[in-house]
């Protein structure tokens, strides 16, 4: 049996205290990450400074190898920084133990990947249930699927769903736990424009209804227009940031 742990208790156990306020959700300073793969050393991040507010919808743009995925992995608790600080609310992610990171992901983070990463042997609703079973106060899996417009496809296996549908199952799976942050790595990368827009609609709706701070990595500059803020990555750092004066609806953009 997995034990459901109250997130507050979990963090308190690690010397963290919960704080729910209007302050930044993420505060990242001078974040560096170096990969060593055999004889090659790659500097993926070279001193990133970043903040995000609660409920913000942020698009991260940048060419391949600019460090945006590495950045997302670190603030999502999937990977560790080589140096610098990354904080979720006032909890240090860079120094957290493996167990603390696991609890952080379980209780606060929803992930959406480019290739959906559904469990092929589970149906749509079972894939969502995989997450709700270990979450503290989740939605009903059926509700999460309804939110992304898949109430009619709940008992289909991933292989029976189109790419767009699979990605929406992945979104439902990510939001079903009512995460504080929603991290998406190229969520439309493998999809055509029409399907991609449906996925973005599901994402913005999830952002609006759950209030989760949403970070979307993309190559696709067109998507930037639906964000509150656009962050450009280049060579392992943030090259520039743009705040959109007004957000477009996903249906208004095209690529």
């Amino acid at each position: 049996m997995l034990i459901n742990i109250n997130p507050a208790d979990a963090f308190r156990g690690n010397g963290w205290a919960m704080e729910n306020g209007p302050g930044p959700v993420f505060r990242v300073s001078n974040l560096c990450k170096t990969y060593r793969s055999g004889e090659v050393e790659v500097q993926a991040l070279r001193g990133v400074n970043f903040e995000a507010r609660s409920g913000e919808f942020i698009v991260i743009l940048g060419p391949s190898g600019s460090g945006k995925s590495t950045f997302l992995n670190i603030i999502g608790g999937l990977d560790r920084a080589t140096s610098g600080h990354a904080r979720f609310r006032d909890h240090d992610l860079t120094g957290a133990s493996e167990a603390a990171l696991t609890r952080y992901r379980r209780d606060h983070v929803g992930f959406i990947f480019q290739f959906y990463n559904l469990v092929p042997s589970l149906t749509a609703v079972e894939n969502v249930r995989l997450v709700t079973e270990i979450a503290t106060a989740p939605m009903r899996p059926e509700d999460a699927l309804a939110l992304v417009g898949l109430e009619g496809r709940m008992d289909h296996f991933p292989a029976q769903l189109s790419g767009g549908e699979q990605q929406r199952v992945a979104i439902a799976r990510a939001i079903a736990k009512r995460p504080d942050v929603l991290l998406c790595d190229e969520p439309t990368g493998a999809l055509d424009s029409r399907t991609g827009i449906r996925v973005l609609e599901a994402l913005t709706r999830a952002n609006a209804e759950t209030g989760a701070t949403t970070l979307v990595i993309t190559h696709n500059a067109a998507i930037a227009e639906i964000a509150d803020r656009v962050v450009h990555f280049a060579n392992g750092t943030i090259a520039r940031e743009i705040r959109n004066s007004s957000r477009k609806e996903p249906s208004e953009v095209s690529w």
Binding site: G76, L78, T102, R105, R106, F111, N127, R173
Partner: protein
């Protein structure tokens, strides 16, 4: 409701069922060998114990010339003796209808009223003999071999007089589970049987009225038999006592014991090897299977499942497979074990069979298998589960491959790119390749370890019957005769050559170790029955000293040149010190030889012989047999061709039953391993292969990549498997050694060939199955998703 994670587990299991089943079968084979081997041995051993107890099988036996019945009381008075039975025992020739060669029977007296104190017979049919009606009870094997039933008549040459005896019933006896005629190597129930006759009939016939020539006794629990034997020998000395001996030297018991010991060795040596091999294979297979789940493990962790939860998930997956394997193994093992015990019980003619169940063995087999499976799974999961999820989810970074022949680029052109891919793939993961090679070679090895014994038995037969004991027959006289008997034998019809031998029961003693054996004297120029040295060359018996088989020398801790004490158990019962002049090869029994004249003079007797070895003109055999049946002096004739046949039947049957089962289980293991190897390789390289298909490679071309790899691994595994198998065989010969047999370590080339063929067949079938899957690879799927 079942948790989503558990649903995933069950669905994964269903998806992978052929592999899961193959793994489960490997485990089952390991479990089954242990359970059936130990089960059969313990059941038979318990049965023998119960049989001995129920029929009061004696603890000490003694033969003598003649003693008055009054001596029985003195024997009973020996400290530690619980019960004594005296009787008359005589060998006689029987003329069996429809059988040209003479048969021999051991006549054993039944006490008045038929109530035996010890060595009670177990009546199978009919009733005890009526003293007035000239009746006898026949041993059941003998009766069966000749179709004797209640009321059948047989003619026996009793003390020189033909007597017609009516069979009143058939019986089994714990004393004659195996019945060996004098000088016979193997039991032959057609040519040798037991007849139990009333004492009042047998006594007068042999002038043993009110006397006995055989005594057996049982001991009070905890008494040292040696002290009783010493007192008994003292008591019987004046009556021609031939030296009392313990149950372990009793012929039938020793034979049965040797058989059971072989069964036990088989159950102690092979199953643990099987269990270890299957555990290793399960471990290897599962860890590769789980390594394939890398992305899903990363995903579960990204969602917030702890490493522990992930390990437990896959632990559960493996537990289900292991439970299936253990269950199949236990059921099959218990079932086969019971079946085998029944077969052996019939073979040993036990009157009943006691089944034993041994939960400890079941527990050991199940525990070892489960631990191996779980260990393999946890190890594999741990490698991935402790990675950070970001790393786990992304496929492993492209491996850095190396050119094998760096600096020799010109050579490389000669190989096709696919050959280069196969070799790089194999050399890149040397540990994984090595463990695959080891896995396949272990399956070759257990096959070699199961199959070798057939060839060894052939070798034993070749050495014993074709090089050493080359005579067609041996005639054993009822008692020692002067040399002139040899000439009488030479004149018998059909006898082309005759060589004398002298056989005397002796006790060899070296310090605290002693063994009762038959010391055989032969002529120096003997060509029929020869003694062979370690290189199987004939040994010329020296004029001085004794030659003994390596097994006897080892037991007595003697080397060439050492002095040994010989206590003669007949005649004047003298003790002599003689040197061991050489040590020779002998696979069957404990044997010792002397030059016949040296032996006669050592015993202080005029030149006498106990019998002759003869070479026969096969065409005149029946004439010889007819003459022998009328010759009271010929106590027993042992025929080599029948001995050989019996040897094959007895030893071969005993070993064959068990080995065949083990070989079948080994084949299952071999298949399970190779099949899993092929399937996992396909999963690991499926995407790569589909990509190649997209690039325009043909199905045959991409199949050759995987099948090429499989072929190389299987080929590389062969020599290693032969080597390991030879080691298994060696360990087994050590375990098989008993005082009655020593199985030589001979692993024929065809054993290696068969082991390899079975593994090749398993590989070919696996290859075909995998080939079919390769043909169905989905190219679209590869284009759609990432590597």
């Amino acid at each position: 409701m079942i948790r989503a994670l558990d649903i995933k587990m069950l669905r994964d299991l269903r998806r992978l069922w052929p592999q899961a089943l193959a793994i489960a079968l490997v485990m089952a084979a390991g479990v089954a060998t242990l359970v059936l081997g130990v089960g059969a041995y313990q059941s038979l051993s318990a049965t023998r114990e119960r049989y001995y107890e129920a029929n009061h099988f004696a603890d000490v036996f003694a033969g003598l010339t003649r003693a008055p019945l009054a001596l029985k009381r003195d024997a009973e008075a020996i400290n530690g003796v619980a019960a004594v039975e005296t009787r008359i025992e005589k060998i006689a020739l029987a003329d069996m209808p429809g059988m040209s060669e003479p048969a021999s029977v051991l006549l054993v007296s039944l006490p008045e009223g038929g109530r035996q104190v010890l060595n009670r017979i177990y009546l199978r049919s009919g009733r005890l003999p009526d003293p007035q009606a000239g009746e006898a009870v026949a041993s059941s094997g003998f009766a069966k071999a000749h179709g004797l039933a209640e009321g059948s008549m047989i003619r026996v040459l009793i003390n020189g007089r033909q007597r017609d005896i009516r069979i009143s019933g058939t019986a089994l006896s714990p004393e004659f589970i195996y019945t060996l005629g004098p000088g016979a190597l193997m039991p032959d129930e057609r040519r040798f049987g037991i007849l139990w006759l009333p004492e009042v009939v047998l006594g007068p016939s042999y002038d043993l009225d009110g006397a006995f020539n055989s005594l057996s006794l049982s001991l009070v629990r905890g008494v040292n038999p040696d002290t009783v034997i010493a007192s008994l020998d003292n008591l019987l000395d004046r009556y021609g006592g031939q030296g009392a001996y313990r149950r372990k030297d009793q012929q039938s018991h020793a034979f049965l014991d040797a058989e059971l010991q072989q069964l036990r060795s088989m159950s102690r040596i092979l199953p643990p090897i099987f269990l270890l091999v299957s555990a290793f294979l399960v471990n290897m297979t599962l860890s590769r299977l789980i390594s394939l789940e890398r992305e899903q493990i990363g995903l579960l962790k990204a969602m917030g499942y702890s490493s522990f939860a992930v390990v437990r998930h896959y632990g559960g997956f493996v537990t289900l497979i292991a439970l299936a394997g253990i269950a199949i193994g236990l059921v099959a093992g218990i079932w086969l074990g019971a079946g085998m015990a029944k077969l052996y019980a019939k073979f040993f003619s036990f009157p009943f069979l006691v089944f034993t169940r041994n939960p400890a063995v079941y527990g050991t087999a199940a525990g070892a298998t489960y631990a191996a499976a779980l260990f393999g799974a946890v190890n594999a999961v741990r490698e991935v589960a402790w990675l950070s999820p970001a790393v786990a989810m992304s496929p492993p970074a492209p491996q850095k491959y190396r050119r094998m022949l760096d600096g020799l680029p010109d050579l490389r052109i000669r190989f096709s790119q696919s050959a280069v891919m196969v070799t790089r793939h194999l050399t890149h993961w040397p540990f994984r390749t090595a463990s695959s090679v080891l896995g396949v070679s272990l399956s070759v090895a257990i096959l070699v370890g199961s199959l070798w014994s057939f060839g060894s038995i052939d070798h034993m037969i070749d050495v014993t019957f074709r090089r050493s004991d080359r005579q067609d027959a041996a005639i054993t006289f009822t008692e020692a005769r002067p040399q002139s008997a040899l000439f009488a034998v030479r004149r018998l019809p059909g006898v082309m050559q005759a060589e004398p031998f002298r056989a005397v029961a002796v006790k060899f003693r070296n310090g605290p170790v002693e063994r009762r054996v038959s010391l055989v004297g032969r002529r120096q120029d003997a060509t029929l029955a020869q003694v062979l040295d370690g290189d199987l060359r004939p040994v010329v018996l020296p004029r001085h000293g004794v030659v003994m088989s390596d097994s006897l020398a080892r037991l007595l801790r003697l080397r060439t040149g050492d002095m040994v004490t010989i206590e003669v158990l007949e005649g004047r019962r003298e003790h002599h010190r003689v040197p061991v002049s050489s040590i020779v090869t002998g696979f069957i029994g404990l044997t010792a030889y002397m030059e016949i004249e040296a032996m006669n003079s050592l015993l202080g007797e005029s030149p006498v012989i106990s019998g002759t070895y003869i070479a026969l003109d096969a065409g005149k055999r029946d004439g010889l047999f007819a003459t022998l049946k009328e010759t009271p002096a010929a106590g027993f004739i042992s025929l080599q061709y029948i001995a050989l046949q019996k040897f094959r039947e007895t030893l071969a049957q005993n070993v064959t039953i068990m080995i065949s089962v083990y070989a079948a289980l080994a084949a299952i293991i071999a298949f399970g391993v190779v099949y899993n190897f092929a399937r996992i390789s396909l999963s690991e390289q499926g995407r790569e292969m589909a990509s190649l298909r997209v690039l325009g490679f043909t199905k045959a071309e991409i199949s050759s990549l995987l099948l090429g790899e499989l072929a190389i691994v299987v080929l590389m595994a062969q020599p290693l498997g032969w080597g390991i198998g030879y080691t298994f065989a060696y360990v087994m010969t050590e375990g098989f050694k008993t005082e009655l047999y020593r199985v030589p370590l001979v692993v024929n080339r065809n054993v290696y060939a068969w082991a390899s063929l079975i593994v090749f067949a398993a590989a070919a079938v696996s290859g075909l199955i995998v080939r079919r899957r390769i043909d169905r690879l989905d190219m679209i799927e590869v284009l759609k998703t990432r590597e």
